[in-house]
Symmetry: C2
Amino acid sequence: MKMVIMAGGQGTRFWPLSRRDRPKQFLNVLGEKSLFQLTVERLKEIVETKDIFVICSEQYVPLVLSQAPEIGEGQIIVEPAPRNTAACIGLAAVWLSSRFPHEMMGVFPSDHLIMDTAEFRKVTAAAGMLAERGYLVTFGIKPEFPSTGYGYLEQGAIVDSRSDKEAFQVARFTEKPDRKTAEEFFTSGHYFWNSGMFVWSLSSILEEIRTHMPGLSLILDKLGDCEIWTEKEKNIFRSAESLSIDYGVMEKSSRVVMVPCDLKWSDVGDWNAVAEIQSGVFQDNSPGGSALQIDSRNCFVHSSGNKKIALVGVNDLILVETEDSILVCSRNKSQDVGKIVQILKKENPELV
Amino acid sequence: MKMVIMAGGQGTRFWPLSRRDRPKQFLNVLGEKSLFQLTVERLKEIVETKDIFVICSEQYVPLVLSQAPEIGEGQIIVEPAPRNTAACIGLAAVWLSSRFPHEMMGVFPSDHLIMDTAEFRKVTAAAGMLAERGYLVTFGIKPEFPSTGYGYLEQGAIVDSRSDKEAFQVARFTEKPDRKTAEEFFTSGHYFWNSGMFVWSLSSILEEIRTHMPGLSLILDKLGDCEIWTEKEKNIFRSAESLSIDYGVMEKSSRVVMVPCDLKWSDVGDWNAVAEIQSGVFQDNSPGGSALQIDSRNCFVHSSGNKKIALVGVNDLILVETEDSILVCSRNKSQDVGKIVQILKKENPELV
């Protein structure tokens, strides 16, 4: 199986740590290693390093090479422009297909956390067996709480998985639900988080793109296996419709199956997610680092380490300090950090 | 009248801005000028610069000279050791008395704010007239709210002030009251905040020290008008009892009168006081400076100006950033900042 790490994202919710030239997946928000590095490590437990590929924009190639020097330049697929996951995955599939026509392909975001890596290995192996039989396999994460921030997969009829992992058809894809619906999904036990991790054969995914996204398929045919993109090829790729693989293929294809799994997974969506992960992982309810705390609870501090930080009489705060900026954010508002970035793009573009 | 500014204080509540070698009175927490500089300016509107004296420890002489270069070195009275206000005032009185035996003396803290300086001039003039008749005059501030942080003066019988300002005997001195008592004081209209500002004649205060603090009086006699303190004189001064002038003299003397006044006064006791003053002065409920604010209210920011500061979804916070430290404090807990300093004295003495 060839593993593709999608590392093109440009998240803004980790400001001030995340920047245009240093997006979330390359930050070490969870410890010494970046989310991208943790993703590479996870896949190295399943395949040989030579079978791990990274797709990202030109701009991030140096970051990939410096953070994962074991990945050769020949394993990096350069995306000429960001065009969402359908075009990204299509491009990676065409690129791999020209080199390894009969292989399975796993696709993984570079900025998620999986704490149960043993379970991840087992699920990926089961998914590989399903993929060899022509299925498009998606990982359905067992919900840990009634999240309104994730999309859901409704479990359909059982499929013979031929392994110790169960597999199901997907009865329905649902976008981020409202609170009430999320609670219904959670208690029903038949809904799973849509994690954006996939396993399929190269031929299956390219066939399904041809069937459900013929426009993208034509574009991919024109590009073939170009490695150096001239302006002409870049423009061809830019003409691709910007669609997610869920919208473009998964919701339409009859070959989709889901493997439910409990991976201790998080998409590490914002600073509050980091705070929650750290307090869980480290069994510490005050992940304030070296901050002095007086009469303060549930605060999370991420700092450059250059300044003494003191908290007095404050609760449920996130404090992030970098060389040039300080963010103070309520833990339940950390999804609004992107609004700061929107303002700064106009007022202080050097800070985003 | 000779004006004495007491500039020896070592407040800890303005950490991280205040430090051992840069206490509150020399900080510009309220704008471009320090509280000490504002005090000098206020007195220059009443007397000539040559009649303004500063009493402080050796350590702060360079700060005095740099912040108020118009004050000559000959106008600085060096306190050999901190021994509270009775010894400080006694020393200043002896020192002045040897030079200007028949003068009036005004005593003013260096770290208070008075916004109504016109009223301050009038009250000081009235106090001067009372002082010439032998009274020890204290300024009673009309309370603006039922503070539990200030001492109170209870208004006694009226005294003929021979000016357009009323004067009263002080029926009682009260330390910081509890909430209920403070509310009673506030609504009664007969209680005034004890501001620690005094006017008297040099001979009157020295007589009253002789009567009520004979031990201090003997020490002052031995020191005379020494200008250079040898270790011997320093040790004599160090043997003085550490008492406030209120305890030592004012609560006992029958010559005390109070002039009630409404000066828009604050002792600027902590960061929250600064936040309140700034929002009042600048008619701005969000004195967050240049901080970017999303969904945030009543936050106060004091920063070095070197970092962009962003607040998201937070209320009633104080954020202070300096070269080496960051404080995040709930506005109603800013009196606890001193606890941080106590911890740092042990763990990071270089930061206090």
